[in-house]
């Protein structure tokens, strides 16, 4: 079983943290995993994205062309990656910021109001964790509890004060998705 995910948003939405946390959780659960960021000539205000592969076998390339899952934190990301998901795959849509629906009918759309849920917890910056909670609920790639523990290893020192909020956000996102 191999799950390839592309996560995308605008700079500052915590896409890299979301991907790193997922990869860390997969590692803790003894799976093979790779994390690969978009790097180099990125534009301010443009999309940031990363690819995470989780597998029970060795991973060939960390670069993902046809993902099983796409996570779109903003409209530009949905526009860019909607066509790339494999037929039968899943697109996670941050419905707080994306009005339109997924146009393809051969994929599953999961809408998560990530910003609104994070705001209700007191800090919109946790929208990435809300989304990640929803992702692991739907895909089962990694356990929610593992992610909560991995936060201790993945968060930077200056973000450690947000760890309880992040854990709550993961849980709320998990509950948000059926």
């Amino acid at each position: 079983m191999t799950t390839k995910t592309i996560m995308a948003g605008f700079g500052g939405q915590g896409v890299v943290l979301m991907g790193t946390l997922l990869a860390h959780g997969a590692m803790v659960e003894g799976k093979h995993t790779t994390f690969f960021p978009s790097y180099g000539a990125e534009m301010r205000g443009g999309t940031a994205n990363c690819s995470v592969v989780v597998s029970d076998r060795e991973i060939a390339s960390p670069i993902v062309n046809q993902p099983d899952c796409v996570v779109a934190m903003n409209i530009a990301s949905l526009n860019k990656f909607e066509s790339r998901v494999r037929p039968g795959g899943i697109i996670f849509v941050n419905s707080s910021l994306i009005d339109r629906r997924v146009e393809r009918d051969d994929v599953t759309e999961i809408r998560v109001p990530a910003n609104e849920v994070a705001e209700s917890l007191g800090d919109v910056r946790a929208a990435n964790m809300v989304m990640l909670g929803g992702i692991v609920k739907k895909t089962g790639v990694v356990n929610l509890e593992t992610l909560g523990e991995s936060l201790e290893k993945v968060l930077s020192e200056r973000a450690m004060g947000l760890i309880d909020l992040d854990r709550q956000a993961l849980k709320r996102g998990f509950e948000e998705v059926a």
């Binding site: 990869a23 590692m27 659960e29 790779t34 690969f36 060795e58 060939a60 390339s61 960390p62 290893k153």
Partner: protein, 366 residues
């Protein structure tokens, strides 16, 4: 689950391994896609009480490494293609002066400024010496973040053992990706017998001279033959590779680094589907080239397929190794292009169906 694993970026793994290998001096200059390595060293070398210099240029950085190595330091630098080109003069001088150092080339697409995508197109530059003069450097080719770490520690040892530069030939994927790794215990750097030739602390001993200039008639030829003897010893003793599923293979792939990662998956997938029995010789040293093992399988009549992210550079070494005894085919990408598993399997099937070698390249611009 082994809880001692950490999730680490390739560039950072090289830096951490260098510190744990006892690297005492690093000088570098920024370039994508290896910047996280320089950044890591800028933060962690001073914390470990070691020296970090962001040099004013690549040329300055390699000459600082020359100076540090001459005093017996465990010295290191890193860059990507264009920066490594600039450092070749210094590497040539270090080979001439028999100074050890370790450096990493996290290769990007070339020629020229090219792009910042992963590539293997600096193969000739690395394995043919790259700079001027009759010399060799030890070239190591990891294919995972764990191996980046392990090979960095090994590279410092080999450099010191042979008093010669050793390098990693990586690529943008290996430098940028994060993967779980196990960190090895740090080694206490022991300068060993370096005091017999290094500079500094000269009171009460004979003078030492580190130089690559040998103007007196005949002296350079003799010196170069001494170097040559050393290179022959390295070529005999240090060929490294990994074999997977080669013994009953219809086609044996020869690949290294990122290409080998994809090729290994292709081997597993093709065996699972029953499409074709593939095997792989994954090269870990590029110089010395693991010619002996390739020759051994060539003698048995094996058919080879080189998969590389350059236009037939490593292919030439494979051809030299088989020396006409069997055929070698090629699947090449360039300029940031990556081979895909299915493409490798399809090419291997073409090789099986063909009487002679097959060459597969990407499309050209008009």
């Amino acid at each position: 689950m082994p809880e001692d694993r950490v999730l680490m970026k390739g560039n950072e793994a090289i830096g951490e391994a260098a510190i744990r290998a006892g690297c005492t001096f690093y000088a570098g200059y920024p370039i994508t896609p290896q910047n996280e390595l320089t950044e890591y060293m800028s933060y962690h070398m001073p914390k470990a009480g070691r020296a970090f210099v962001q040099a004013e240029s690549e040329v300055a950085a390699i000459n600082m490494v020359y100076g540090a190595a001459a005093t017996g330091a465990r010295a290191m630098t890193s860059s990507s293609g264009p920066g490594i080109s600039l450092k070749q003069e210094g590497v040539s001088y270090m080979c001439g002066a028999e100074l050890p150092c370790f450096y990493a080339n996290i290769v990007r697409g070339g020629p020229g400024l090219g792009n910042i995508a992963p590539a293997q197109s600096d193969y000739f530059q690395a394995t043919r010496g790259g700079g001027h003069g009759d010399y060799r450097v030890i070239v190591l080719a990891p294919s995972t973040v764990q191996e980046l770490f392990d090979i960095t520690m090994l590279g410092f040892e080999l450099a010191d053992k042979y008093r010669n530069p050793a390098m990693i030939l990586g690529d943008g994927i290996l430098g940028q990706m994060r993967e779980p790794i196990v960190l090895r215990e740090p080694v206490e750097y022991d300068p060993g017998t370096k005091g017999a030739w290094s500079l500094g602390n000269s009171a009460g001993r004979e003078k030492h001279m580190i130089t690559s200039v040998r103007l007196a008639p005949g002296t350079l030829e003799k010196h170069n033959m001494k170097l040559f003897r050393k290179y022959k010893e390295i070529a005999e003793k240090e060929q490294r590779y990994e074999l997977t599923a080669v013994d009953d293979a219809e086609v044996i792939i020869i690949a290294y680094g990122t290409s080998a990662r994809v090729a290994k998956s292709a081997v597993a997938a093709a065996r699972e589907s029953g499409d074709i029995r593939l095997g792989i010789i994954r090269l870990i040293t590029l110089w010395p080239y693991p010619a002996d093992i390739i020759r051994e399988y060539a003698d048995k009549g094996a058919r080879f397929l080189v998969v590389e992210m350059s236009l037939g550079q490593m292919y030439e070494d494979a051809l030299l190794s088989v020396a006409g005894k069997t055929d070698v085919s090629l699947l090449a990408h360039t300029g940031g292009g990556l081979p895909a598993e299915e493409e490798i399997i399809e090419t291997a099937k073409k090789v099986r169906a063909s009487d002679g070698p097959v060459e597969v390249f990407p499309e050209a611009a008009e």
